[in-house]
Amino acid sequence: MVNGVRLQKTPSKASWWRRTLGEWPAVLFFLLPTVAVLGTFNLYPALYSLYLSLFEWNGLSPAREFVGLANYARLLASGEFWNSLRVTLLYAGGVTLLALALGLGVAVLLNQPILGQSVYRVLYFLPVITPTVASGVVWKYLFDPTQGVVNRGLLAVGLEGPSWLSDPSWALAAVVVVGVWKRVGFNMVVYLAALQGIPRAYYEAAQLDGAGPWQQFRHITLPLLAPTTFFLIVTALIDAFQVFDLVYVMTSGGPLSSTDVLGYYLYRQAFRYSELGFASAVAYVMFALIFVVTVVQFRLSRGGGQGEG
């Protein structure tokens, strides 16, 4: 009987709570950590750095001076900034295009019955998950002018390599090589999945019409991969615009600022020179750059009517 009493009481109490509060207590409980963390460390900082970019402030003194758009004006007048922007665009463009072409190439080659396919996949993918710092350290050695494997290899075929990371005209190229090395595997994996989604029947029909391998690639594979290509370009650009670790480890922005990407420029302004307002302006320029790419992506992927999802 005791059981009977409790059984009657509990549901009515629960339903009273449910009627008045609905699912709100549960909703709050499930979402509180997310709202708290993303709010404090994403949303609020994104807005606050816009606000900070209107001030001159060293981060320590209680007084901060409102300067309006002066930080942005200073930025646009600074040769260092334009150099950083140029270096960043070169790096991003280089890594994105080279890794795209190589990733597609490897994916096409792997998209057939080949002995050891899964081993190849792992070997091409390992650089993606390797810590950037460790990658930078090892590649620094590979690019060492006298002991490095790159110049030793060049010497073996009778060429004298430059001193890569300490040569202003080669340092960026060397960092791009590492960026590409770390990106190819990612592109390959995504391309491979997309290739496997193309029905075999398309190729069979094309073969019946007498299309050769190149024509099949040009008129079936490439157009059907377009949405994937687009996705990979956008994500690669967004990643590359923010590059920091590799530059920090391999070149510290040098020699002669030839690898001084925006991420590194921002870091120096904020954490070496304590120019928090000015650095926030740099951050917002990066944001704008990335925002433009994202908007272009939305526009084109809608306009293209690929019906992706």
Partner: protein, 273 residues
């Protein structure tokens, strides 16, 4: 027939060549780490004739690597646990519960993925500083305790689960907590594994944030420690390679252990874009 054999041979050659270039830095790192200092001047890629295992011990002792490892381990475990649990909870609420502003919140979460990290860097640092968290595990873990990407993964997965099980339990008067922990989570091992491997690699490899929120050598993580080590031991390539190997190994092992989930995570989100 002959052309075909030639083609296959060419494909194999290209693939093997590319794979060699891709793996060469690892090979180089490992062989250098095992060479005695004096053998550095041998021709490249030559396997050491005698293995200098002591390089690892010397590197391990030349800087406080045990402490860096401890810090990275605490941070990584903390981030993996927090991101998995909190993201699963949020993903569940966004997939199953009905409340005003749900879609707005979901797009808000997705929107935070578009905010580049450098934009949030300075104010996040100021928040952590104001809380007195510099040089603490709090600073390393709490700001990254939630992942918008993981929330997205979990939400998509929960949407694909049949509702019947949960509805039956709701009828029986079970609360959301019971349903989530007793019924939903045990069915979610594939997505938990995917989310955990992403969190693990993110945390273990992370550099910029630990660099700015730690000052004391006692609180440095392995990546920051390795970068500092490189600053001090710039040309001691055997020691540097040994240290880089030690720091890379956990990432590679974790990837190999959960390769399938990791790649599925990338291709699913990549293609659904």
């Amino acid at each position: 027939m002959k052309a075909r054999a030639l083609r296959t041979a060419l494909v194999r050659l290209l693939l093997a060549g590319g794979a060699f270039l891709s793996a060469m830095p690892f090979l180089w790192m490992l062989t250098t780490a095992l060479k005695p200092e004096s053998a550095l001047y041998q021709p490249p890629l030559l396997f050491p004739t005698h293995f200098e295992w002591t390089n690892f011990i010397r590197a391990w002792q030349a800087a406080p690597f045990p402490r860096f490892f401890l810090n990275s381990a605490v941070m990584t475990v903390g981030i993996v646990l927090a991101q998995t649990l909190f993201s699963a909870m949020a993903g569940y609420a966004l997939a199953r519960m009905r409340f005003a502003g749900r879609n707005l919140l979901f797009f808000g979460v997705l929107g935070t993925m578009m905010i580049p990290f450098p934009v949030t860097l300075i104010p996040s640092f100021l928040v952590v500083n104001a809380l007195g968290w510099i040089d603490t595990y709090n600073a390393l873990i709490i700001p990254r305790a939630v992942s918008a990407f993981a929330i997205f993964l979990f939400r998509q997965f929960f949407l694909s689960l049949p509702r019947e099980l949960e509805e039956a339990a709701l009828m029986d008067g079970a609360g959301r907590l019971t349903i989530f922990f007793r019924i939903v989570l045990p069915l979610s091992t594939p997505v938990i594994a995917a989310s955990a491997i992403f969190s693990f690699l993110f945390a273990w490899n992370d550099f910029l944030w630990p660099l700015i929120v730690t000052n004391s050598p006692d609180m440095r993580t392995v990546q920051v420690g390795l970068a500092m080590f490189q600053g001090q031991y710039g040309v001691f390539w055997t020691l540097l390679s040994a240290a880089a190997t030690i720091v890379t190994l956990p990432a590679i092992l974790a990837f190999l252990a959960a390769q399938r989930q990791f790649i599925a995570g990338i291709t699913n989100t990549g293609l659904k874009e």
